[in-house]
């Protein structure tokens, strides 16, 4: 573990070079940090970071790079002042850590407050082995609803920024595709055809197995989107658009948020509080199960739809 940390620091130092290399190193950086999350017991987080950090954001950054310049212009004025600011801030933060509990200390204040309650009572109240899922979907349901809304808003924002001027690029969109060597690569096409169904199946497994192991709506949505990104990369944008059209995606992304909120409202109508799933079925634990299943589905739908939509928009610009 210490070795990995060391590696990360070197990456962080060496990363000051041309942009393409920077993005490649950023991919490694994400993989490393996800490995560190595994060693720190945060399997769900590692799952998400693997799919999101290493996959989606690297792809998006690459797409941006092809649209803009490849290298960074060297002249920068006054690196001394930022360095000073950074050193002072870092020094202050390090000074702050001196008062912090030691790493892994079970007596640290963070472990004394709500966490024991989650760990001890959630089996009886929710009945799911994966505590992260039950906290995410049930105890902290409001937060998660907020996050999903943020993602939806971000998707809408990207749509506004990049979706508007399609006319100019539309001509190239039809003619310029299908040309490159990757597109003509028979091996890639065949393997992708074999793999993609399994990937989709795996996404569904992650979606519905999230109650018992690491996984859940966020991860499943991203994996689902990754399958579509693979399809788009190999078979071209038009083919992917034919499978999942942008209109359908827009509807789906909204539908996920609505499903989440709708489950919350159903709780009110059934006589409980907003996002209180205990009342949805005859038995509270069964109600919790149903509610978590439904909102995870909502989360998964929104995340997948928004990610695919963002990727379409970026890829549409690239052509």
């Amino acid at each position: 573990m210490l070795l990995s940390f060391l590696a990360i620091t070197t990456i962080a130092v060496v990363r000051l070079r041309d942009l393409f290399a920077v993005v490649m190193l950023f991919g490694i950086f994400s993989l490393l940090s996800a490995a560190i999350f595994v060693t720190l017991d945060a399997v769900d987080v590692a799952f998400t970071e693997a799919a999101v950090g290493a996959g989606i954001s690297t792809v998006l950054m690459l797409a941006t790079l092809t649209l803009t310049t490849r290298t960074e212009s060297p002249p920068r004025h006054g690196t001394l002042l930022p360095l000073l600011v950074v050193c002072v801030t870092g020094g202050a933060l390090v000074y702050g850590t001196l008062d912090m509990p030691r790493f892994g200390d079970p007596q640290a204040p963070i472990h004394q407050h709500v966490a024991p309650r989650y760990l001890q009572d959630s089996p009886a109240e929710i009945g799911l082995p994966n505590v992260v899922t039950s906290v995410l979907a049930s105890y902290r349901g409001y937060d998660t609803l907020g996050e999903v809304t943020v993602i939806f808003t971000a998707g809408a924002g990207v749509l506004m920024l990049l979706g508007a001027i399609r006319r100019r690029t539309a001509c190239c969109d039809d003619t310029g595709k299908g040309g490159s060597a990757v597109n003509h690569n028979l091996v890639l096409r065949v393997v992708a055809k074999i793999l993609i169904p399994f990937v989709l199946l795996f996404a569904l497994y992650v979606q519905f197995h999230g109650d018992f192991g690491p996984g859940g709506g966020f991860q499943a949505g991203v994996i689902f989107a990754a399958a579509f990104i693979l399809y788009t990369l190999i078979f071209g944008l038009a083919a992917a658009r034919a499978v999942a059209s942008p209109g359908v995606l827009r509807v789906l992304s909204a539908l996920g948020v609505l499903l989440f909120a709708g489950v919350g409202l159903a709780g009110i109508f059934a006589g409980g509080d907003f996002l209180d799933y205990g009342v949805l079925a005859s038995h509270p634990v069964a109600g919790q199960h149903l509610g978590i299943l439904l909102i995870e589905l909502g989360v998964g739908t929104t995340v997948a739809a928004v990610m695919i939509m963002i990727f379409y928009l970026f890829a549409g610009r690239t052509r």
Binding site: F5, T9, A12, V13, F26, S33, I36, F37, D41, A42, V43, D44, V45, E49, V52, G53, S57, L60, M61, T64, L65, T68, T69, E72, S73, R76, T79, P82, L83, V86, C87, G90, L93, T97, L98, M100, R102, F103, D105, P106, I110, H111, A115, L119, P129, N130, V132, V135, L136, D143, E147, I151, A154, G155, G157, V158, L161, L162, F218, L313
Partner: protein, 118 residues
Amino acid sequence: MATVLGLYNYWIAIFLMMAGFYVVIAHGNLVKKIVGLSIFQVAVFILYISMGKVQGGSAPILAAGVTSYSNPLPHVLILTAIVVGVATIALGLALVIRINEAYGTVEEDNIHSQDEPE
């Protein structure tokens, strides 16, 4: 020595955070700035997750025969933060693309110099 070992994770997180911060404030290239921003994000994630770790604990998925678990709360927070983070990055990159279309450059200095004559 015990202090150094006990705080090593936090210090690494702070170092990464500062590296990201430095990239954001010192570099003129907007794509680079976004990379710096995401490094900063990952540093925050690592800080949170290291706080949630319990020595000898295990992943917070209940199983028979395991008694000590790490704290699940930071995991939940960071889980959602990662996805929101990528949404932020996507939005930022979209903005960069539009800026590139409008100005023909992604260097901050060039953008400023184009703005000034008006």
